[in-house]
């Protein structure tokens, strides 16, 4: 007994204990993510912290429960779903919840405003084109450059013809279209020929230097000449009649104004951003003043400017459409914001990129087109998408100058006495909020996705 070795040596491995219950499984997850922050009472400060966390957690949970339960109750459990007898308000007024028959009855207005029912396929076709084009650009598909070009040039023309129509069919006489075409066509022809002769230096160096200007003039007048021809051609092919813009409304107007702002803001914003970086003082300060003034005032005052003040500055007798004026206001507004986003991208470009371009002997515009802009725009895609989201939400403001976009249309339907119930307005708000949320949240998710994708490239 005495000489027995009292030291104990384990000869087999001890069994592995399971991890503590606070670390794994549902209980572990709950502990780590919810209760751990509330259970530390080791010192006064930590105890206060834990108590605060408890209050916040319980408060948040209760508030969320109240909110979600409230929305579910409103939209499902105490809602009116059908109105088989066509009683309208009497069908809804008995329930305390949402009045879905109202949404059903007004859905057409929410989407198209007062667009004639027999012509509504035109809106649908252009929205379909928009959806296809956007999807093509958003997802990694082949030939995105070509699609982007088409979306920026052909799509606006086609959808204008589809939505608005051209007044050619009225008399069947095409001569007045061609009357306006000859003059720009001749100028475009002459300048085009001049460009062709001058570009290779055949007419001397001075003329060669002028060639790009001639090309621009050609393109401009070519556009003037061909735009009416293209639209008239499309119009005759499709046989569309004119639908005045005051009949448009709802989501159609929202998308038209937003897309106009988006399409115009990219090129204008690029020009303004480049102008702001320019060494030439007049160009620089013109851009700076424009950007800062527009960013310093609310969109409403831009819209008021476009609707109340702009007509005074146009030649007497010239009057353009209210929707077009609002669109011009939105375009100017969004291009100032876009310019600042793009400027951020330009400033993030390392100087070596410019110098590399210069050492290759590229001209300024070649540098911009081939080297700087592709990189700068890629780095600021999240910023650009955020500007789009802001623009999309801001289109609601057109209702203040009485253009009935999605929100304005819904608001207008609330005055319909046949659907006047205490819950009609909230049903409408809920639906419209959901529609905007889907669009904006989708865009913001895309921006996050792009951000992650771009960050990965930098690491």
């Amino acid at each position: 007994m005495t000489d027995k070795n009292i030291a104990y040596l384990r000869t087999t491995e001890a069994p592995t204990l399971p991890p503590p219950s606070t670390e794994v499984g549902l209980r572990g997850w709950l502990w780590k993510n919810i209760f751990a922050s509330m259970a530390d009472y080791s010192s006064t400060g930590k105890a206060i912290n834990s108590i605060l966390m408890t209050i916040l957690t319980v408060g948040s949970a209760l508030f969320l429960y109240w909110l979600i339960a409230g929305i579910l109750d409103f939209s499902i459990f105490s809602a009116t779903f059908s109105d088989p007898e066509g009683q309208k308000r009497e069908a809804c007024v008995v329930n305390a919840g949402a009045c879905w028959p109202y949404v059903q009855a007004k859905w057409y207005q929410f989407m198209y405003g007062f667009y004639p029912k027999e012509e509504v396929w035109r809106v649908n076709v252009s929205m379909f084109l928009l959806a296809v084009g956007t999807a093509w650009l958003v997802f990694p598909m082949p030939r995105r450059g070509l699609v982007a070009g088409l979306m920026l040039t052909a799509f606006p023309i086609i959808s204008f013809v589809l939505l608005n129509g051209m007044p050619v069919e009225d008399d069947g006489d095409l001569s007045h279209i061609f009357a306006g075409v000859w003059f720009p066509l001749i100028i475009a022809g002459v300048t085009g020929a001049g460009w062709w002769l001058a570009k290779d230096g055949r007419l001397g160096e001075v003329a060669a230097a002028m060639a790009p200007i001639l090309l621009m003039v050609t393109a401009l007048f070519g556009l003037f000449a061909f735009l009416p021809l293209i639209t008239a051609g499309l119009d005759i092919a499709l046989g569309t009649t004119v639908v005045e813009t005051n009949q448009w409304g709802g989501l159609t107007i929202t998308l038209v104004v937003a897309i106009a702002g988006i399409v115009a803001s990219l090129p204008l914003g690029m020009l303004l951003a480049l102008g702001r970086q320019s060494d030439a003082p007049i160009i620089k300060y013109t851009s700076v003043i424009f950007i800062e003034v527009v960013r310093g005032i609310p969109l409403i005052s831009v819209l008021f400017f476009a609707s109340a003040m702009l007509p005074y500055f146009l030649a007497p007798g010239v009057d353009f459409n209210k929707l077009l004026r609002a669109m011009i206001g939105v375009m100017l507004f969004s291009s100032a914001y876009m310019a600042e986003v793009i400027r951020g991208g330009l400033q993030a470009m390392p100087k070596g990129q410019y110098e590399g371009g210069m050492s290759l002997g590229l001209s300024f515009w070649q540098q911009m087109r081939l080297i700087i802009m592709p990189q700068a725009l890629t780095t600021v895609i999240p910023g650009i998408v955020n500007t789009f989201i802001g623009l999309f939400k801001d289109t609601t403001l057109v209702l203040i100058i009485s253009i009935f976009d999605l929100l304005g249309m819904m608001n207008a339907t609330l005055t319909d006495p046949t659907w006047a119930t205490p819950t009609t307005a909230y049903t409408g708000y809920l639906v419209i909020a959901f529609i905007y949320f889907v669009f904006c949240f989708g865009m913001s998710r895309y921006s996050v996705y792009m951000e992650n994708k771009l960050n990965r490239g930098h690491r």
Binding site: M53, E205, I282, G296, I300
Partner: protein
């Protein structure tokens, strides 16, 4: 020893060609073209405006500012400040009151949006799933729904939950009462000699600042800590209170008067007694605050995440407790990232207050570019004034925030 490199030199140009290929000359040429285009546009615009005004028999000028304005304007901070009386006050008074209404909305909104926004931003970074989820849902929902819709919602919802105009509910029993006409509370009425108390408050603030500086100096030189907080509270409360009592309490409180008897149409709160907040103001305030707070929350989160983890680890290694780490290490660094975007959110809130036009709160766009424009029809002058006022506000806010930014900026070697 010099070596000559044989390089393909561009041929020397002379005359017109040299001018055309000279980058300075080109730049001057294009600037000249731009200047001419801009001047021509301005000239055409002025010409057209003159022609259009002449055709409509109008003149250009700001003389209409002196005309009396007889529009009824909702009782708000601005009307109280200016003492607006329809028919007696001028249009210039309306401009002043509408600017005051814009500013009060912006200031109150910015104050509460900052608090709520910081709370949401910090909550979103919490380890606690419930708190984080709440903040995430809040931020994502709020910033993806148009502000105008939220304003409409609050405007309708406030009228739904409040009792009718002949009835009253209360938030804080005996202090704040409300119905669909607005919120009613006590209002201080000052008498002669109250200015002495105001002066005492100013002196007390000055004394507190001076004492704080002295205490800091003392701690830096001797290491002694002074009870700054308690002494400050003492000065701030004590001095004005003593002066107030000595001058014979020159302040009475006016309580809102609720008429619950008599003819039905006379019942409800009496107008012009006590303080009053219009429901339009509350709707705008709630919408602007909650909407902007969502954006501020995202900015705060990004700012705190931008501080490297090593900073908090280092301060822990130094033995600083959690609160001090946050206050002295994390936040000062996060602030540098937060302030520039925060400034633009403040400006956005100020500009967004113009959405009041949609529900009729009498601020700059609603009452001046709306009602007054319809009344006098001077579109050019009025829109120009509105633009200038907003630009001034933007400029002043940017200047202040730049000054603040420079103060907290990292001083690099």
């Amino acid at each position: 020893m010099t070596t000559t490199n044989e390089v393909d030199q561009e041929p020397e140009r002379t005359g017109l060609a040299a001018l055309v290929y000279d980058s300075k000359a080109r730049s001057l040429f294009f600037q000249g073209v731009l200047a001419i285009i801009i001047l021509a546009m301005i000239y055409l615009a002025v010409q057209n405006a003159a022609q259009n005004l002449a055709d409509q028999g109008k003149e250009f000028g700001f003389d209409f500012f002196d005309r009396p304005s007889d529009v009824q304007i909702l009782t708000t901070f601005g009307t109280w400040l200016i003492g607006y009386v329809p028919g007696e006050s001028t249009i210039f008074d309306v401009l002043k009151l509408s600017v005051a209404n814009t500013l009060i909305l912006a200031v109150v909104g910015i104050f509460f949006a900052t608090i709520l926004g910081f709370l949401m931003g910090i909550m979103r970074l919490s380890n606690n799933f419930v708190i984080k989820g709440f903040a995430t849902i809040y931020i994502e929902v709020m910033r993806n729904i148009p502000l105008l819709l939220q304003i409409f919602f609050w405007n309708a919802a406030l009228r739904l939950i409040a009792p009718g105009p002949r009835d009253s509910g209360t938030f804080v029993p005996g202090l704040l009462q409300y119905n669909t006409k607005g919120i009613y509370g006590p209002f201080p009425i000052t008498h002669d000699g109250f200015y002495l108390t105001v002066i005492a408050v100013i002196i007390a603030i000055g004394a507190t600042i001076a004492y704080g500086k002295y205490a800091k100096k003392l701690q830096e030189s001797t290491g002694k800590q002074s009870p700054v907080f308690l002494v400050s509270i003492g000065i701030l409360v004590g001095l004005p209170a003593v002066v107030f009592l000595i001058t014979g309490r020159p302040l009475t409180i006016e309580w809102p008067n609720f008429v619950s008897e008599g003819p039905m149409l006379r019942r409800g709160f009496e107008r012009g007694i006590g303080s009053y907040i219009a429901p339009e103001f509350m709707a705008l305030f709630l919408a602007l605050t909650t909407y902007t707070a969502a954006f501020i929350g995202e900015i705060v989160r990004a700012g705190i995440q931008a501080v490297p983890r090593g900073q908090s680890e280092a301060s822990e290694a130094l033995g600083l407790p959690g609160g001090l780490t946050m206050r002295k290490v994390i936040l000062p660094q996060a602030f540098r990232v937060i302030i520039p975007p925060l400034t633009s959110q403040y400006l956005n809130l100020t500009k967004n207050s113009s959405l009041a036009a949609a529900i009729g709160y009498p601020e700059l766009v609603a009452v001046f570019a709306g009602t007054i424009l319809n009344q006098v029809g001077r579109a050019i002058e009025i829109v120009a004034v509105v633009i200038i006022v907003y630009l001034t506000i933007s400029l002043l806010t940017s200047m202040f925030m730049n000054w603040f930014n420079n103060r907290v900026k990292l001083v690099e070697r």
